[in-house]
């Protein structure tokens, strides 16, 4: 039988300070005394956002939140609540934040319990295609609150105060962006949702739209009201057909319920949203290229200023934010900027969604408060590296980000500390790399991507990434020469400084950061012609060891006739003929072929 009760104890920094660790052992002792060990689940969560009332614990089912109790009160809580099913009212705190609902369903699972879900609060909870589900969880109430009790200026002040920063990667303060667009005097203004998610391995925006499309609509409506715009556009890539279908349905349903169109909710505010599909060019995630693409032109960035807030889509003031940024807006309006800004670090507030992928046991979507360390995400939530392999690096920020080695594992996640460590926050891709991966090859993979996606407008990006890729390819093929690593660094820094847009300015990051943190691996490739992870095919040597029984299976598998030997005698590989395809390695049943 699964546990009947589950206690989730907040283990955020503030609660640790208030002795959460001791509280756990007291609870365990009390449960043991009553023979309840194993019948009540206990797990530690990340910060639950109720720091002022710590220590905080949640007892499920029922989602009763206890706070500000002393260790001496624990026996009473256990005896009354767990044994007699009578909650102890004087310690119950009644804080119904929007994110709470997620933990009613998922809080007892370690992977989810350690997270904090604000942007993804409804993902996996509601039926995304049923507007009633969204409305029933206080959906569109933030919009109504803004329309009823707040002036546009007050909405902007609230967003500014919350400290929310753009979740697309660059981290520009959202409130300031809103203020700048609101300041412009123009009858025609636009609000854009940037859902052109293109980083390899990233799927935060897709999941957010597929799981809870109405929150995007509501966020955009609130912005429209705040900056004085009547028109919103969701720019989403055509490769996300289900997300497109759901956001379109959300817009249609919202229109029917009177949340879009004229005189929204009986006010004099008018707003409409349409969906535009992107064809999947990476550079169209860059705001100026995105707007050109909407206008029907070829998607290419242009120099800023003028910024979109002054002259954006069709030359009008335009406010453009990322999907995750929009998803945070209703929460800030309903739960307040003060609460929101109590989460996170000094300069980065709130939470961030990451798509955890690569060599980690639990892959998936992770939303954690800013200030969580990389180690906590990878080991506590991600469950560590599978197969007892050794951790090698974590890649954040997709093709624009960098690879951080083990010494950076205790880096707290926020915009500044990741940048200081040599990577970026980016839109939230997080790929874990173990010892079986070659860092030179990883850098090459990301550079290949950006080189392919370079729009070609400016020379540093178009030519520079191409030359860098040529050098990297040479190195992985064993043709690297002395000076190649320095050349890569020089070129990389030049491209970063001279490129027109974010794509070029960040494209060399994977190469530069791997050189910085894993220089020895580059040197091995260049000078010793060796790939320690055994990934770069051209640098591999296949040998047959004395385990060989002469079954000649490998001989038959070799397509170039590089293996010879009499039956039942040890075979040999002619390394001059060998094309290093690895076919012999795969077919050998005796583990007799060594790859090095």
């Amino acid at each position: 039988m699964p546990v009947r009760f589950n206690i989730t104890l907040c283990d955020g920094p503030s609660c640790i300070h208030k002795r959460s660790k001791e509280v756990v052992s007291t609870i365990e002792g009390e449960l043991e005394k009553h023979g309840l060990t194993g019948k009540v689940g206990i797990n530690l969560s990340g910060c639950l956002g109720m720091c002022s009332k710590g220590p905080v614990m949640i007892i499920n089912p029922g989602y009763t939140i206890y706070g500000a109790f002393a260790e001496e009160d624990i026996p009473e809580i256990i005896q009354q609540h767990i044994m007699k099913k009578k909650p102890v009212t004087r310690f119950i705190i009644d804080e119904d934040h929007l994110y709470n609902r997620f933990f009613r369903v998922f809080g007892d699972v370690n992977f989810f319990g350690k997270q904090m879900r604000i942007a993804l609060r409804n993902c996996g909870i509601i039926d995304p295609e049923n507007i009633d589900d969204y409305i029933s969880l206080r959906g569109y109430e933030a919009l109504a609150k803004a329309l009823t009790d707040m002036s546009p200026g007050k909405v902007i002040a609230e967003i500014k105060k919350s400290g929310l920063r753009g979740r697309g990667g660059a981290g520009f303060p959202t409130g300031i962006k809103w203020e700048l667009t609101a300041k412009e005097e123009n009858d025609e203004k636009y609000v854009i949702c940037n859902a052109d998610e293109g980083d390899p391995g990233a799927f935060m925006d897709r999941s957010a739209i597929e799981g809870d499309p109405h929150t995007i609509v509501e966020g955009m409506l609130i912005a429209g009201f705040a900056i004085g715009a009547k028109k919103g556009i969701v720019y989403i890539r055509a490769e996300y057909p289900l997300a497109v279908k759901r956001i379109k349905k959300a817009i249609a349903d919202a229109g029917r319920e009177g949340f879009l169109g004229d005189n929204i909710l009986g006010s004099n505010f008018n707003f409409d949203i349409e969906v535009r599909l992107g064809a999947g060019a990476f550079v169209c995630g860059e705001e100026t290229a995105l707007m050109l693409s909407i206008e029907g032109h070829r998607g290419m960035p242009r120099p800023r200023p003028p910024f979109p807030s002054v002259s954006g889509l069709f030359g009008k003031p335009t406010l453009i934010n990322n999907v995750e940024t929009w998803a945070n807006i209703p929460v800030i309006i309903l739960d307040g900027a003060d609460w929101f800004s109590s989460l996170g670090t000094e300069k980065s507030k709130g939470t961030k969604v990451f798509a955890l992928a690569g060599k980690v046991k639990n892959t998936g979507l992770v939303e954690v408060p800013m200030g969580t360390t990389l180690r906590q995400i990878i080991y506590n939530i991600g469950g560590g590296i599978p197969g007892d392999k050794k951790f090698k690096a974590v890649q954040t920020g997709g093709p624009s980000g960098g690879c951080l080695s083990e010494e950076y594992l205790d880096t707290k996640i926020d915009y500044e500390s990741l940048a200081k460590a040599g990577s970026i926050m980016g839109s939230g891709g997080m790929i874990i790399i173990d010892e079986d991966s070659c860092m030179v090859n990883i850098a090459k993979f990301f550079l290949e991507f950006t080189q392919n996606e370079s729009c070609g407008k400016c020379t540093p990006c178009r030519e520079g990434t191409k030359r860098m890729l040529e050098i990297l390819t040479r190195i992985t093929e064993g043709k690297g020469a002395e000076g190649d690593i320095d050349k890569l660094q020089r070129l990389g820094n030049m491209i970063k400084k001279a490129s027109l847009c974010g794509l070029g300015q960040s494209a060399p990051n994977p190469v530069l950061s791997t050189i910085k943190n894993f220089r020895a691996e580059y040197e091995e490739h260049v000078f010793n012609k060796r790939c320690r992870a055994g990934v770069c095919q051209h640098l591999l040597v296949y040998e047959i060891t004395d385990k060989c029984v002469g079954c000649s299976v490998c001989k038959k598998a070799c397509s170039v006739g590089a293996i010879s030997g009499a039956p039942k005698a040890r075979h040999v590989i002619d390394i001059n003929k060998c094309i290093k395809c690895g076919a012999c390695f795969k077919v050998c049943k005796f583990n007799a072929i060594r790859k090095s």
């Binding site: 699972v109 989810f112 995304p128 109430e141 109504a144 897709r206």
Partner: protein, 118 residues
Amino acid sequence: MSTPLEIIRKKRAEAINRIISKGYLSSKRVYVGMATCEIAAGSKDVMEVFQEAIRSGLSDVYLSQKGCAGRCNLEPTVEVVEEGKIPLKYGLVTKEKAKEIIERHLKKGEVIKEWLIK
């Protein structure tokens, strides 16, 4: 003239009533993950098994789709929620497993422990 806040409160009450009229208060609620990732992992088949069961008479069960909660390597996922109990989350659900969840859990109340996400 009602304010937007008053209107939304009324709308919420209506929305909740509509959800209830669809059977939300059934003794068990079943949620099947239906985002792109879950569908790719086979959740459409799983959903069909539950739909078929309801068509052929499984009663007192509220069935709904949901988005992706983010537990990628255990998809498709299915949640069984009962009021007053901790919601149970099944991972790596196949058509066959779905049939067993219906027979054992939904009909007989037996929790299939080894398939739960912990």
